[in-house]
């Protein structure tokens, strides 16, 4: 067992030595693979972050009902009763126009502007929490509530979030297509690298066959090489994505402060990182395997 392991390690070491025998060539290949993989991986990371943001913002969907600015206490009471009786409404909180103004002063940096106003421009409002959270039910409810007497405007607070979510789904599809195409490119790059290696090592392969090497023995260094090159490319991609996200975080932090929110880009999760590395390793191995299957049989000893 340990002897078999030592043999495999020996082959692996030889494969790595061969990879870095031509330092520039090896590094360039890894760089190409890394950049190719970092595109879908980076887009995926951004989508994951956007999705996190959407979930955070649209977690509790609410419908705001704005009343006419001249609404009287009677109208408000009547509306409150109607809302409480509505089967799709979970609860409704009344926000008096004075309180709304106060909140506006505190939550944004507009205090100076507001103090300067002659009269309160905000209407009274109800914030309605619906029972059901799906986009379609919310839309129907919003329509119904807009018809109620005294309601001037009914607004679904997270409408944009639902639209964004649909957009993200589209983005995921785009990432998937990109990932498939660039994976093919990675397999092709490895296929060609191994093809060239087999050509330059033609003599060694032929002699090895003549003195009793099994096909497995001949194939192994190429497969290890392909897998290693894929893995190193994957590590490169991971580094590119992580570094880019970290770089983006600083300007993003300043930007999000302007909107009085706290938003940071998270790097790829541990699971996603591991998947990226394993996937790139597998693709490299696959490219090498295909190349070896195609080219080794063409070398027959004489």
């Amino acid at each position: 067992m340990t002897r078999a392991l030592a043999l495999h390690l020996g082959v692996l070491r030889a494969a790595l030595r061969r990879m870095f025998a031509s330092k520039l060539g090896g590094l360039l290949n890894i760089l190409v693979i890394g950049i190719a993989l970092s595109l879908p991986a980076g887009m995926y990371a951004l989508l994951q972050n956007a999705q996190g943001l959407v979930a955070q913002l649209s977690g509790t969907p609410q419908i705001s009902l704005f009343l006419a600015t001249d609404a009287q206490a009677d109208d408000i009471d009547a509306l409150r009763k109607q809302l409480a009786a509505h089967p799709a409404v979970h609860g409704a909180e009344f926000v008096a126009r004075e309180r709304a103004l106060e909140q506006l002063k505190q939550s944004t940096g507009l205090a100076d502007v507001i103090v300067g106003l002659e009269k309160n421009p905000l209407p009274d409002a109800f914030v309605v929490s619906p029972k059901q959270g799906n986009a379609q039910a919310l839309d129907i409810l919003r329509g119904e509530l807009a018809q109620l007497p005294g309601v001037e405007l009914a607004q679904l607070d997270s409408a944009w979030a639902y639209k964004l979510e649909a957009l993200l789904e589209f983005g995921h599809l785009a990432v998937l297509i990109l990932a498939v195409l660039l994976s093919l490119a990675l397999v092709a790059v490895t296929f060609n690298t191994i093809r060239l290696q087999i050509l330059t090592q033609r003599d060694e392969i032929e002699v090895s066959r003549l003195i009793g090497a099994t096909d497995g023995f001949i194939r192994r260094p190429f497969l290890y090489f392909g897998a290693m090159q894929g893995l190193l490319g994957g590590i490169m991609a991971w580094a590119i994505v992580t570094a880019s996200l970290l770089l983006l975080n600083r300007p993003l932090g300043e930007l999000s402060q302007l909107y009085a929110s706290q938003f940071v880009l998270h790097p790829l999760s541990f699971g996603d990182s591991l998947s990226l590395l394993l996937f790139s390793l597998y693709l490299g191995w696959l490219g090498a395997w295909l190349s070896v299957a195609r080219h080794l049989s063409q070398i027959e000893p004489r």
Partner: protein, 216 residues
């Protein structure tokens, strides 16, 4: 140990290189294979290592029909043979040491054991001091001896040598023949092809002579 029965070999293109060859070589025997250039000596040796396959007749090595051997079994046949190729087949991308190491790597020897064996083989052919040299820097005779070292490092029971003294002067040729005799003394079965009859005059060993693909 090696047994040919009515072996015919026709190359693609129709040329009949061997016609109805039959002979036996016993275990531990040393036999010379002679004949003019193009007589079929290399072809005969290639049949033993299953580098070429016979068109008819049977080639037995250790009572195994090597002409019918499957691709998967081939490597294990060849590991029991030490082969010295007419065109050397040395690798010029590595040192003398690493050339001799290759058969041991193929058989999966561990590191320390194989280092010892390589040095023992190089010592035997007098190349121990050149182990770090690239074979491109060796003379013809030294390359020939390097081929021998690679063929014997695995301690094969059968040694096949194709023109091991070709293009060498008489002194070198005698030296190499002396090495083969020492293997013969420790029980290795040897089949050595040569067109240089002068090296065998005094030897008194068995001789197979080919002429235009026919055994005389």
């Amino acid at each position: 140990m090696i047994s040919f029965t009515q072996v015919h070999k026709r190359y693609p293109g129709g040329y009949e290189a061997l016609k109805g060859i039959s002979f036996d070589i016993a275990e531990g025997e040393m036999v010379f294979l002679t004949g003019h250039s193009g007589a079929g000596k290399s072809t005969l040796l290639k049949l033993i290592a299953a580098i070429e396959r016979p068109n008819s007749g049977s080639v037995l090595v250790n009572s195994q029909n090597v002409g019918a051997l499957s691709g998967g079994a081939l490597p294990y046949l060849r590991r029991n043979l030490g082969i010295i190729f007419q065109d050397h087949k040395l690798l010029f991308d590595r040192s003398v040491f690493d050339n001799v190491l290759l058969p041991l790597q193929i058989c999966g020897f561990d590191h320390r054991e194989s280092g010892k064996r390589v040095r023992a083989a190089l010592d035997k052919v007098g190349l121990l001091k050149r182990e770090k040299t690239n074979p491109i820097a060796l003379s013809g005779g030294e390359r020939q001896r390097l081929c021998i070292a690679r063929a014997i490092v695995n301690r094969p029971a059968i040694l096949l040598a194709d023109e091991p003294t070709g293009n060498l002067d008489a002194a070198y040729a005698q030296e190499i023949m002396a090495i083969f005799k020492s293997f013969h003394q420790v029980g290795v079965t040897l089949l050595i092809s040569t067109h240089d009859v002068s090296v065998l005059q005094d030897s008194g060993v068995r001789r197979l002579t080919l002429k235009e693909g026919v055994l005389q």
